[in-house]
């Protein structure tokens, strides 16, 4: 192995190590890659200028949220519903709802019958 490659590798390892240490030190839950992945899942475009600010803000909120880990919740059932109603059923019958005209009224683009979106398939 030539010396240059070795130095390169060492540099990379040191950089990576420093990165990991900083990440642990700052207790970062989300890094740039994760931020982009979440933004994609949430279908939000993320301008590069906003990345760092958002990273800091999200990480500080997430660290604060982790205070919940101080509580022992073994055996506690998650509370998933706040309403006491069970099986609120109604008769299954067709009733006039909103008209097509009304339904299309607020659409950014429509042709009188359908909502229009950019071409999906080539």
């Amino acid at each position: 192995m030539c010396l240059n490659t070795l130095i390169q590798n060492l540099k990379f390892i040191i950089q990576h190590f420093t990165y990991v240490v900083t990440k642990i030190k700052n207790n970062m839950k989300i890094d740039n890659d994760a931020l982009q992945k979440i933004a994609h899942l949430a279908r939000l475009e993320m301008p590069a200028s906003e990345e760092q600010g958002l990273l800091d803000s999200l990480n500080s909120v997430l660290n604060w949220m982790e205070e919940l880990n101080e509580l022992d919740t073994d055996g506690v059932q998650p509370l998933t519903h706040m309403s006491l109603e069970v099986n609120a059923l109604r008769e299954d019958k067709v009733i006039p709802n909103i008209s097509r005209e009304q339904g299309l009224k607020n659409a950014p683009k429509q042709d009188g019958e359908y909502f229009r979106v950019p071409k999906v398939m080539e």
Binding site: A42, L44, E67, P78, L79, H81, L84, P108, V117, P118
Partner: protein, 471 residues
């Protein structure tokens, strides 16, 4: 115009022929024209329509056919749907969205002859505590210089405070009715979760959201609750339990068991005047013959993290409907379907909303779901069970509505955690789904209103209102 504090005073004059609805609407429209350019409480004003409705209600009063809310000039938060009118949720993504139907609470008020005068400013989708997160500009408190209205129903509170309407319907997800009511010296009621149909309330966090009134008196809060509460075919989560005749305020008992949260009163973050006013109120209650005791609530520090994990999760899911397809903003830069979604949402949502969507998406993502979301649901149960136990021992739990009076504009916007702390005392009611009311409790050295909060057991609004009416 006389300084009315209850609708029944207004109705007395209306029925005695000393006042007309036309005069009332004209009075409020004049105030709106004069004050709204500075305060920015109203986003849309339905002037002509309100005057037309006033003529009709005046006739109904003469004919003896008028409804319970005749003479009530009502504003509604921009988060509530009103058929044929613009509802924007304080967001650019819904700019000029015209609702195709009216929400149940709004419709029930209209059916009882309330006159809806306009839609009111709020934090985008209800996400905020100061009304500084509105796409349509900040709404200012009418008292003090450059003070926030509180949020998220800031416009609703300021409109009532500054006599631009008589009452308002707001929404409360973590304190959004009680907090601005407190900051503006008014009464704000958050009913039990599921007491009022959420149909036509633009969703933020569906297991927390509640519609509630902001009024000048407890009597009117009770009256509005009576009108809007109850079962509804359009909301499968709404309670089918019978409602009480809330407007006929029960006589309060002479001896209640009242618990106050020790952690809240002893908190370092409490403004000295708020602490003093709260302690004075507790002494007054004792003097009236009530039993007043400190209760410990060791889980208090977990209220806010639990609230933010669950509400951001629910928000990220609810707000996925804004995709630029069926309604709302679509980016002109869209080239394909994916860029249409991403650009439309990035341009349409404000900074705080985007942040909460990101947080919610993260806590719901496969690798973190159990660690955050399920964990918070478990803690939610702990907080609920503990609160329920306390409310078996006490009739009411009380504390200040907010740790401080209204902030200066911009004071809390830099640090999200500082901003979130303002909700510390109000979120509990939403986390556990219980009713709570905020009533005025004096003012601080700068003349800013201080507020006192009372929370009661599930569906005990009648008792809560009876007690609040004596405060």
């Amino acid at each position: 115009m006389k300084n009315y504090t209850t609708l029944s005073e207004i109705q007395q004059d209306l029925y005695a022929g000393k006042l007309t609805c036309i005069e009332l609407v004209t009075y409020y429209l004049t105030n709106i024209a004069e004050k709204n350019p500075t305060l920015n409480a109203f986003l849309n004003v339905f002037g002509e329509e309100a005057l037309t409705k006033a003529v009709l209600v005046d006739q109904k009063i003469k004919d003896g056919t008028a409804g319970k809310l005749a003479g009530l000039v009502l504003g509604i938060k921009d988060l509530l749907c009103y058929q044929g009118h613009v509802s924007q949720a304080g967001s650019r993504i819904l700019q000029n969205f015209e609702s195709q139907f009216s929400g149940t609470a709004v419709q029930r008020c209209i059916d009882e002859d309330a006159i809806i005068i306009g839609t009111q400013n709020c934090d985008e989708f209800g996400m905020g505590s100061t009304n500084e997160n509105s796409a349509y500009g900040i709404c200012l408190n009418a008292i003090g210089e450059n003070r926030v209205a509180g949020g998220s129903s800031g416009g609703s509170a300021v409109a009532v405070q500054a006599d631009m309407c008589f009452a308002s319907l707001g929404t409360d997800t973590g304190g959004s009715v009680r907090m601005p009511a407190g900051f503006c010296g008014l009464v704000g009621l958050k009913p039990t979760y599921s007491r009022v149909s959420r149909w036509g309330l633009i969703s933020y966090a569906s297991s927390f959201d509640c519609i509630g009134p902001i009024t000048k008196s407890v009597a009117d809060a009770a009256l509005l609750l009576e009108v809007i509460a109850g079962k509804d075919e359009q909301d499968s989560t709404v309670s089918t339990l019978p409602t009480d005749a809330y407007a006929t305020l029960k006589p309060a008992k002479s001896h209640y068991k009242v618990g106050y949260l020790r952690e809240a009163i002893e908190s370092d973050g409490l403004q000295p005047e708020v602490k003093a006013a709260t302690l004075a109120k507790l002494e007054a209650l004792k003097a009236q013959g009530h039993m007043v005791e400190a209760v410990d609530f060791p889980l208090i520090k977990y209220f806010l993290p639990t609230y933010y994990i669950l509400t951001t999760a629910e928000a990220s899911s609810n707000l996925s409907r804004f995709d630029g397809v069926k309604y709302g903003h679509r980016s002109p830069e869209s080239v394909d379907l994916m860029s249409m979604y991403k650009k439309s949402r990035a341009e349409g949502f404000g900074k705080e909303t985007r942040k909460r969507i990101m947080l919610g998406t993260f806590v719901l993502s496969a690798s973190y779901y159990d660690a955050y979301y399920t964990k918070a649901q478990r803690v939610r149960r702990l907080i609920k069970e503990y609160t329920d136990t306390l409310l078996e021992q006490y009739d009411f739990l009380v504390c200040p509505t907010t740790p401080t009076t209204a902030y200066k504009v911009g004071e809390k916007t830099t640090d999200p955690l500082q901003m979130y702390l303002g909700d510390l005392f109000t979120v509990q009611a939403n986390v556990v789904g219980l009713p709570a009311i905020s009533v005025p409790n004096g003012e601080d050295n700068d003349g800013m209103p201080v507020a006192f909060q009372v929370m009661a057991g599930a569906f005990k609004e009648a008792e809560l209102l009876a007690f609040a009416n004596t405060l």
